[in-house]
């Protein structure tokens, strides 16, 4: 039996991490207790290393100057010059590091198959979009379970696992390393540690899917990596 609550919590981990890759809004992040919530959620999801990283975000946020935070955000993820840590999957997954590669189309296909239309102007494989998509998948899985549709729930879980392993996990460690190398700002270094560990730890999470599928997926992951 799946723990619906835990699925929602995992989904919220994805969502709050996604939020961190938008323009930083210090007041909103602090007001909504982003760091505390993320720490609690990660602990509940048995991601202790990620939780430890999340717990430092609160202090880092509190001690940051909003403009400095925005400058750092731009330097890492927006430009206009060389990006410190390009937030696009294709930069890492495609031979020439260009956008809109085959991996981007694969991501787009997943969004569409899940019934989602992209509403903001960005490359589809931006980290914030991919994480939000995973949030949505968890959400749909929980909803299916709540409606007592276990098979449907499993389908959503399988999409999540495949997306995570094929399209997100292969590039997140390098991306996070680039963030760590590219900034001295506590918030973004902490965020990099958090995401990096979360993506590694979440794969070990037993509830993500039944054992049988997990082993099949392990092969997929190995191939993808």
């Amino acid at each position: 039996m799946r723990d619906t609550d835990l699925i929602l919590k995992r989904g919220d981990c994805y969502k709050l991490l996604a939020a961190c890759f938008y323009e930083p809004d210090q007041e909103m992040f602090l007001g909504e207790h982003l760091s505390e919530n993320l720490t609690d959620l990660l602990n509940a999801c048995q991601c202790p290393k990620a939780a430890a990283a999340a717990s430092v975000l609160q202090a880092a946020l509190t001690n940051s100057d909003p403009e400095e935070l925005l400058i750092e955000f731009a330097r890492l993820f927006v430009g206009p010059f060389e990006l410190g840590a390009p937030p696009y999957g294709s930069v890492y997954l495609e031979e020439n590091g260009r956008l809109m590669g085959d991996s981007t189309l694969a991501v787009q296909r997943k969004y569409r198959e899940a019934g989602l239309a992209q509403e903001i102007k960005e490359a589809p494989d931006h980290i914030a979009l991919e994480l939000e998509f995973l949030h949505y998948l968890c959400r749909m899985e929980a909803e299916a379970l709540a409606k007592n549709l276990p098979e449907q729930a499993e389908e959503w879980a399988a999409i999540e696992a495949e997306f995570l392993c094929r399209l997100l996990r292969p590039w997140v460690p390098t991306f996070c390393e680039k963030i760590r190398q590219g900034t001295a700002t506590g918030f973004y270094r902490g965020l990099a540690d958090c995401l990096d560990n979360f993506v590694a730890e979440i794969g070990l999470f037993p509830a993500i899917m039944p054992a049988q599928q997990e082993s099949a997926l392990a092969n997929v992951c190995r191939t993808a990596l």
């Binding site: 619906t4 609550d5 699925i7 929602l8 919590k9 989904g11 919220d12 969502k15 996604a18 939020a19 938008y22 323009e23 909103m28 992040f29 007001g31 909504e32 919530n37 403009e67 925005l70 400058i71 731009a74 927006v78 430009g79 206009p80 010059f81 060389e82 990006l83 390009p86 930069v91 020439n96 590091g97 260009r98 956008l99 809109m100 590669g101 189309l105 694969a106 787009q108 969004y111 569409r112 198959e113 019934g115 989602l116 992209q118 509403e119 903001i120 102007k121 960005e122 931006h126 914030a128 979009l129 939000e132 998509f133 949030h135 949505y136 959400r139 749909m140 929980a142 909803e143 709540a146």
Partner: protein
Amino acid sequence: MKIKRRDFLKLSAVAGAAATLGRPTLNAFAEDAKGAGPIGELPGEWKASTCQGCTTWCPVEVFVQNGRAVKVRGNQHSKQNDGYVCPRGHLSLQQVYDPDRVKVPMKRTNPKKGRGVDPKFVPISWDEAFNTIADNMMELRKNGEPEKYLLMRGRYTYMRDLIYDGVTKIFGSPNNISHSAICAEAENFGAYYTEGMWGYRDYDLSNSKYVLVWGCDPVSSNRMIPATISRLGDVLDNATVAVVDPKLNNTGAKAQEWLPLLPGTDGALALAIAHVLLSEGIWHKEFVGDFKDGKNLFKAGKKVDEAAFEEKESHGVVRWWNLAVKDMTPKKAAKITQVPAEQIIRVARGMAKAAPNVAVWMGPGAAMQVRGAYSAMAVNALNGLVGGVDNIGGTLPSNKVPVKHMPSLSAYQDEIAKKGTKNKKIDQRGTKGFPALKEGKPGGGVVTNNTATGILNSDPYEIKVAVGYMNNFAFSCTGAERWEKAMEKIPFFVHITTNAAEMTQYADIVLPGAISKYEKLCWVKQKQNRYAQCTLLQPVVEPMWQVINDETEFPWMLGEKFAERGFPNLIDFLKKEFKDPETGREATNSKEFTEYAVKYYTQDLWNGKDVGGDKINGWAEFRKRGMWNSDPQPYKKRWGGKFGKDEEKDGKKTTKGTISHKFEFYSETLKHALEKHAEKHKTTVDDIMATCNYTVTGELAFVPHYEPPFRHGSVQEYPFTFIDYKSRLNREGRSQNAPWYYEFKHVDPGDVGHEDVLKINPADAKKLGLKDGDAIRVTSVAGSIECTAKLWEGVRPGTVAKSYGQGHWAYGKTATSDYAKAKPRGGNNNTILPFDTERLSGGNVRNGGFTGVKIDRI
């Protein structure tokens, strides 16, 4: 990219019944099961657009599949490129999908400006961006100094009128400054003061029997690249190709003749060819005429009586002979140019044998020299001697492209604007030392690179607000570092660009520009193979970010903000003068305006009017085809005394083209222009010539003649003469962030993939103890760059060559070695090429051996 709703950060409700979950809070997505179409399986389609990777402006088609551009080919309707593109056409795919593109409007938060100083850009909204720009500009009008606004234009389309003239003149500034003179104006000078055409020639390559390529490499640059690539094989079979270039180029590598002259000696070589043609009596008599008694009196060193000769289509051949040609024997020229006399004679005789089906293809190498105006004239004069002008297999002007002109904007100029635009321009054109004699008018042309001087010296006044689009003068102009200082001095600068580059380093606001071939709606005109074309640039893919069309949407959005500040003139002009020609509707937003404006200009090509050329039935069909071809250019159109035409406007008599109405070997047209300029400055033509760094006095100023090359840096201190040329992978200087640029760099002869090399003759390298791959420093009087040594026989001993393109210290990840440390990848030629101008045309000097360098191993 902002979080739209605070709810997004709220945690999900604890699970219970499905109903209690509610709908998910999404930020980047919407649930839209119905709209979820397939992806990855769609068949795709070819969509028409235009490539602006070089000045060929190829009509192209882009294959778009699943919303993604994947391939490029020439437009299948094109009579210019036969449906093919060159390597640049494909390279652009790596530009549109470059992760380092400018994605959102940004503002600088660090007021300090300089190389290596982090501007600390942060994202801002479009609204904030345009409010800030409008506030800064309106402040100038409020203070009665609108002339202190400067617009710097880079690569443009023909929608340029709106930002270049529309915004600038309605606002009230005279300072719309074009990039044109960075690399071309002296070449146009050569054509104008011989055949009366300020423009580039078309070449009837398919019918040529002799092609003399001079100072360019038509398979990799100039204005008909794909056409030349596909024709060169046949031309080599059916005709002779000779290439004049101090370094071996792609065309030269295939040609029957390579004439590796010493840089800057083009005038001597051209005169020597003329000497052979005249003294051997083998000029084309149908064009030039003949001696009245049929006996050739052109003898080396001997003056000829002008009365003895009867000219036909040309003017002043005997006077030219007497002034400049008679003494330039092949033997003498061989000494100056280092091209063997026998080769000069062979080429001249070959041309004469093929006449009149001869094209002398002049490029910037022959012209963009300190004293290049006269070598450009000398080279183009050869087209006259062999009768190839407007002739089968020769050079041609362009057929007319019947598009509308910009509507008059004077009704939208208020008193402040009328007064402001009367000020002198910041590039100092028309001053004594910068005649810039475009189309016979002193101060008629732009002196782009001198704009930095004007800004630095606040002469004639200070520039307080500047906008630049698709330009990067702090990298692309010689003496680039002057521009860095000039940009530091401008208090408020807006850069509209696809990629942040050196100019952006000094921007207060950065706006993301659309990539021309994939995201813009505009039009351009060009000609090749006797056919003129009008071709559309179209948004073939949906941009990933909210980018704007610099030439149309910037004026519109600015106009709206001006109106909010009580100055509606600009938006009124755009709305009222560019109504949809089909419905008469006024535009309500920037995208509609863009489309109406393109329709306005091009309407006669598709609205059923008979203008010749392709018949296109309506706007929808025009967009689908993407282009219009003219009828073929007729031959001999200007023969019969039509190289110039007298006009009368508002009671003022002027001449368009040559004053004699003939092809001028003795340029009455230049004489008139120079005398007018001298008169304006109350001096003599001799004084103007000396001021402009020319060496001759008297009548020689009015004929193509030889001027010894001017060189910065003594041979003792800087022993090597530097040869600059452009990489065939440069896409108007915007491809250096594309990995393919480096992977395929070896397509430039002598170059090495992934490197930026200085090519040195092996004999020189031996003396310097250098071998392939050695890291070297190249130093001139202007500056130093670091690059790699490459031993190559394609340059003469004593000369070294390096392609322009690399050396960005501020750009994206691929183009720059380390942006934070301002460490360039390779070296920018413009760091070592000092700022200098061919003053008669205003052309920026890049060629002619004007820079001496020394080489040190690092």
